[in-house]
Amino acid sequence: MATTAAAQLPALSDEAAAKALFAERARWRWPEIAYWIAVVLCMFAFPTHLMLIAQVLITGLFAVSFDLLVGYAGIASLGQAAFFGVGAYTTGLIAHNGWSEPITGLLAGALAAGLLGFVFSILVSRLTGIALLMITFGVGLLIYEAAHSAHDITGGDDGLTVGNLSPLLGLFPFDFLGHTAVGYTFVVVFLAYLFARLIVNSPFGLELQGIRENVRRIPAIGVPVGYRYMVAFTVSAILAGLGGALLAQITGTVALGFLSFDRSSSVLIMVILGGIGTLYGPLIGAALYMVAQDRLADLNPVYWNFYIGLMLVIVVLCARGGIVGGIARIERAVRSRWTRR
């Protein structure tokens, strides 16, 4: 897509070319429009599965937060669940201790995760490669163990009960069927998605991709890599924390699973399956993963793991680009046939 804009370069002035490039990057692709329409349709078509839909949306947000880091900045991490869990525990603890207003609680969770991401990014800004991976892995395990050990605060293995939230905006009480929960989740996740889109389609997003492509050459055009890493980490952590906080609020509990390595690795799987570095690919990947898990895990979780593993191996070996990449390839093939006739 970017190549078409670049091909027009000679005919345009630099400024116009840049504008065309950014307009092309920010264009809504049809799979992402289809995703959001499908979500809205599902909310009306499956009124008994509202909680599942909300969880699909939240997992999608978590995957988007991770894609920002791994797909755009090229920072592979094995500890993204740390930010998700810290957001969830912060929001959970605030409500648990009596502050029941949902929106401030949500923002506090996102803020706490962002703060952690910021501090973390300062410390890791000089690391690369395996050392960076190991430290994200280590910090993930560390925070998990901290939550596990601090039984008095977090409830440890028993989990944490969030407690009742007061009505949203003072108007909509949280009901058992999840009407308020799913609407609330939809609005928050959609806004967060717009925000993520804005970021990756800005010049900043382009710089991140430049860092991903060549971390040595990008400082030569005047982009400070360490500083960009810090912003990417912090924004990614805020979005992940927002997801965790939302899940804590709508399910009413926070458990150690929010911080687990399983969560960090499954988000990696969703991003790769959906299509890395596209934002909407991970959204779709997360939805398929969640729905498949919901359908198949009842049969036998063991087989589920086997097939997930197999899917990963196949995607890595021969289906680069994931689902979105596959769709784009089919689209291109169909288009070229059409234009030939």
């Binding site: 791994v70 592979a76 094995l78 410390l123 000089r126 690391l127 490669g129 395996i130 050392a131 991976l133 190991m134 430290i135 892995f137 280590g138 910090v139 395990l141 560390l142 163990e145 901290a146 596990h148 050990s149 390595f261 690795s265 990696l268 799987i269 790769i272 063991v302 087989y303 793991n305 086997f306 997930i308 593993g309 197999l310 899917m311 990963l312 191996v313 995607v315 890595v316 070996l317």
Partner: protein, 289 residues
């Protein structure tokens, strides 16, 4: 009090030896190929399962199962390296490597559950390897003594092999500079294959030797992966055998001491120390300057 402490430290050393055997291969392959292998713990798990199955099902003596466990894991390692891992070499492909090896680990855990069931297998060792030995004022566990003895032999062999043989010299050369090594006419591709063969074989042996101390269940491949990665990370990412040994002993002793004296903090201390060391010395405790 002191006897008690020494007993615990002794257990820690035995545990450290075990960790070293399981992680040594990972240290070499990660240092040599810059390849992040999250499947490594599967080799150890396979070794453990092979040993227990042969003992319980076919009544083999414990010692006879060790070569089979080593060989089985070595062959699996070589097979994976030849068919899959070699396509993923390169420092810019860490993400692909993670995805591939996590996928394989998921499959291995599921397959193990399918074949052997989800519960830990019971282990019965011959009587001459169980019980206590009285040395002075210490009561030492006989199996752990055996483990340390085996460990000393293997570690000596490994270090000699790594530092005194031409194969070891080639590996060290390839770790330092792969291109120049290849241009000297050394077949680096074959070197990789043998490094994988030996590394996964050692992990299999470590797994087989661990059946009496650790639980042989499908979760093994995930539970001990973290420890192996910590050993490699702290030991230094340039394939240093001695670094991995130091890190494994340190980790083993710290873990056993921590679990005994401050059980409520769990693995918290280990992870904290790892993270702090990584922040201060990203290339590991024993990294060459």
């Amino acid at each position: 009090m002191i006897a008690n402490f020494l007993n615990i430290a002794f257990s820690g050393v035995a545990y450290g030896v075990l960790l070293f055997l399981m992680a040594a291969g990972l240290a070499v392959t990660q240092g040599l190929m810059n390849f992040l292998n999250l499947t490594h713990a599967v080799f150890a798990m396979l070794g453990g399962y092979l040993a227990v199955t042969l003992m319980n099902g076919l009544g083999w003596p414990f010692f006879a199962t060790l070569p089979v466990a080593t060989l089985g894991a070595a062959l699996l390692g070589m097979l994976l390296e030849r068919t899959l891992f070699r396509r993923m070499y390169g420092a810019d492909r860490h993400l692909d490597q993670i995805m591939l090896t996590i996928g394989l680990t998921f499959m291995a855990v599921a397959a193990t559950t399918y074949i052997w069931g989800p519960n830990p297998l019971p282990v019965r060792l011959p009587p001459y390897l169980t019980g206590l030995v009285h040395i002075g004022f210490l009561d030492l566990d006989r199996y752990r003594l055996f483990l340390i003895a085996v460990g000393i032999v293997l570690i000596t062999l490994l270090i000699l092999g790594f530092e005194r043989t031409s194969f070891g010299a080639k590996i060290r050369a390839a770790v330092d500079n792969r291109r120049v090594t290849a241009s000297c006419g050394i077949d680096v591709d074959r070197l990789f294959m043998f490094a994988f063969l030996i590394g996964s074989g050692l992990a299999g042996l470590g797994g087989a030797l661990s059946v009496n101390l650790l639980s042989v269940d499908p979760n093994f491949a995930v539970a001990f992966l973290a420890y192996m990665l910590i050993v490699v990370t702290l030991g230094g990412q340039n394939g240093s055998i001695k670094g991995a040994l130091g890190a494994a002993l340190l980790l083993g002793i710290a873990d056993v001491l921590g679990k005994y004296y401050v059980p409520q903090t769990g693995a918290f201390i280990i992870y904290t120390v790892t993270v702090i060391v990584l922040f201060c010395r990203p290339n590991g405790l024993f990294a060459r300057a």
